[in-house]
């Protein structure tokens, strides 16, 4: 009698590892292994994406993950996230001010000029997307000369350290509500599960490590018409944020390092009268004059698309939390439970695993109902 064995799982898995590794090294004799420095520096936006989606600011490990996962951002972020699971949380970081960030870029689309000036910095925004064929066969000499020349003849003392924040000017004019210092500690999504309704800090944390494409897709739905944020970028800044910690003895804040982050603040219109009528018992809005509202986005690394998408969704979710969602991008459950790359990619992959026991059950139900349908046709002859 024939007998089918489901054996050899262990050997099969070892085989996949070897096959995968052989593809990574498929250049053979002519190949040079990628150095982590090259990935971290030359593929800096890829590294940015992985530290942000991995939720761990460790560019070096991110570069390793990118190399190991052969450039798959989802897998690389996943490896970083899994590494994070082995580390205890040592302390809560106090609130960090982004004012003193060392900026490499800051723009505002709300104003022609802003205090400190528009600083375009490193951006492809206005670059022509023409293929630079000279890079295809780049000489190491030319490559090295670029960084040598860039700051040539610049007096470093004349370079500004930091810039005032644009939204502070709007606040000063009363167009934005004053900042409310929230006394409660921020929700830590790595230590507490999301049980809805969740505070805004939980939403922000979830979005900060969300998968860029997922965040963009839902934010885009809001921009296009399934929502009404109509954002204006008050300020988008990219730079190095000094991380401050209280000194263990003196309690004075001490800079312990810096992280590259992208921060975006969008302002959106806000009709006070309308909101007052929607909000049955919200009396405070009825008397206050209309103001702009703010959407906030920030993430590790240099990732402007992500920060903008997050800021738009923050504004959309605030509206949804207050008035009830009128489209998917305003629904905290819909947005926050579907933007994590590790979760969504893992679940999509799991369908590749064997499911033959459940499929057996499915066939049993289908056969039984089909038998019943053919044996005893329903007198009414309805859709069944």
């Amino acid at each position: 009698m024939g007998y089918v064995a489901i054996k050899g799982g262990g050997r099969a898995i070892a085989g996949t590892e070897a096959a995968l590794e052989s593809l990574r090294c498929a250049e053979g004799e002519a190949g040079t292994p990628l150095s982590l420095d090259a990935i971290e520096q030359q593929l800096r936006l890829l590294t940015s994406r992985v530290v942000s989606e991995g939720g761990l600011y460790h560019p070096r490990l991110a570069a390793l993950a990118i190399k190991q996962m052969q450039g798959d951002t989802l897998e690389a972020a996943f490896a970083l996230r899994a590494y994070r699971s082995t580390k205890p949380r040592l302390l809560d970081l106090p609130l960090q001010e982004t004012g003193p960030m060392r900026l490499i870029r800051r723009i505002s689309s709300a104003f022609k000029d802003i205090p400190g000036g528009q600083m375009l910095g490193p951006t492809t925004d206005y670059a022509l997307r023409l293929m630079r064929l000279d890079l295809a066969d780049e000489s190491p000499e030319a490559f090295r000369a670029v960084s040598r020349r860039f700051l040539d003849g610049v007096d470093e003392a004349t370079l500004p350290d930091s810039f005032p924040k644009v939204v502070d000017a709007l606040r000063h004019e009363g167009l934005l509500l004053p900042l409310e210092r929230n006394a409660t500690t921020a929700f830590d999504i790595t230590r507490d599960p999301l049980v809805f309704p969740v505070p805004r800090s939980a939403a922000l944390a979830t979005m900060a490590r969300a998968e860029t494409g997922s965040l963009l897709a839902i934010a885009y739905s809001n921009m296009r018409g399934y929502g009404d944020v109509h954002p204006t970028i008050a300020e988008l800044r990219v730079g190095y944020l000094p991380v401050m910690l209280p000194h263990p003895v003196s309690g004075e804040p001490v800079e312990i390092g810096e992280v590259l982050i992208t921060e975006c603040e969008v302002v959106a219109m806000y009709e006070a009268q309308e909101d007052a009528s929607v909000e049955g018992d919200g009396t405070e809005n009825q008397t206050s004059p209309p103001t702009f509202t703010l959407g906030y986005g920030a993430c590790f690394g240099h990732n402007e698309t992500k920060a903008i998408s997050m800021a738009i969704l923050d504004r959309a979710l605030q509206k949804g939390m207050r008035d009830g969602p009128s489209n998917p991008s305003e629904d905290p459950e819909f947005v926050l439970l579907h933007i994590d790359g590790v979760d969504s990619m893992g679940f999509a992959s799991h369908y590749k695993m064997p499911h033959y026991v459940t499929f057996q059950s499915d066939m049993d139900r289908l056969r039984t109902t089909r038998d019943k349908a053919t044996a005893a046709p329903k007198p009414q002859g309805d859709s069944a």
């Binding site: 893992g346 459940t358 057996q360």
Partner: protein
Amino acid sequence: MNPGYELPLDEAAYSFGFLDEYAKREVRRTILKAICIPGYQTPYASREMPMGRGFGTGGLQVTLSLVGPGDTVKVIDQGADDSVNAVNLRKFIELTCPKVDTTEHTRDASLIQSRHRVPEMPLTEAQVLVLQVPYPDPLVVVEPSEARRKVMHGEGDYSRLLTKLYEDIVQFDEITISHRYPTRINGHYVIDPSPIPRYDVPRLHHCPALILLGAGREKKIYAVPPYTRAEPLVFDDVPFRTEDFRDAQGQRRACARCGTRDSFLDELIDDDGNKLWQCSDSDYCNSQLASGQDSTREVAQ
């Protein structure tokens, strides 16, 4: 970004059970709460594991938080110890849990992690069964919002689930839920018992072993404590039905390998295109083959 610092290579050696001790303690506390409120989906801050969400990360966190030196762990997927995912998880447990034994024998295991099956061999009080869960909430088929589902669970409001079952009967003359059959625990909370076949549902009822269900991606742990009622959701006049393994003559099919007629069977198609049936539980099949070879042959004939 700052070049010039070294990778934390000294930190690459993982702690026992991969997770840091705080994480394991948190999972254990969640388990205790889950046992105290049978069937309640206890939220916890699920950690990312180094295998895909959906591959058993919830079950694995439960297993790794409970396992200690002296334990013997069995891992199965679809009932088989040698299924690729079971091999992978077992390998990971062996790698991160020194001094923990692994086994393929249900009888010898103190902790069994399983996907999609409850082992055929009756479990004992000395054992813990950990089931991997993709969808923890049976209400998800009738209510997408988790916040609203939580209220429905609290109020024991399963009317929409019952309506779905009723509509099935009206439309198909049969309840069409094949696996993940909604099961009421201790008379209150209805759980998704994980994608076990209906065949396995009655075996949760008054089971002497502690049954823990872990959903990693959905960040929930729930439990069926030992000797607790576990009743599939049915109507008084429509009995619960398990998978039908009778042939055209109405005879219960036997396993083509060991000959037993009292196990859940996988339907296979061999190289010649013939259909045959075989135990899904590989350890059960092997033990039937080894011990009762003669007696089962008689039954098979």
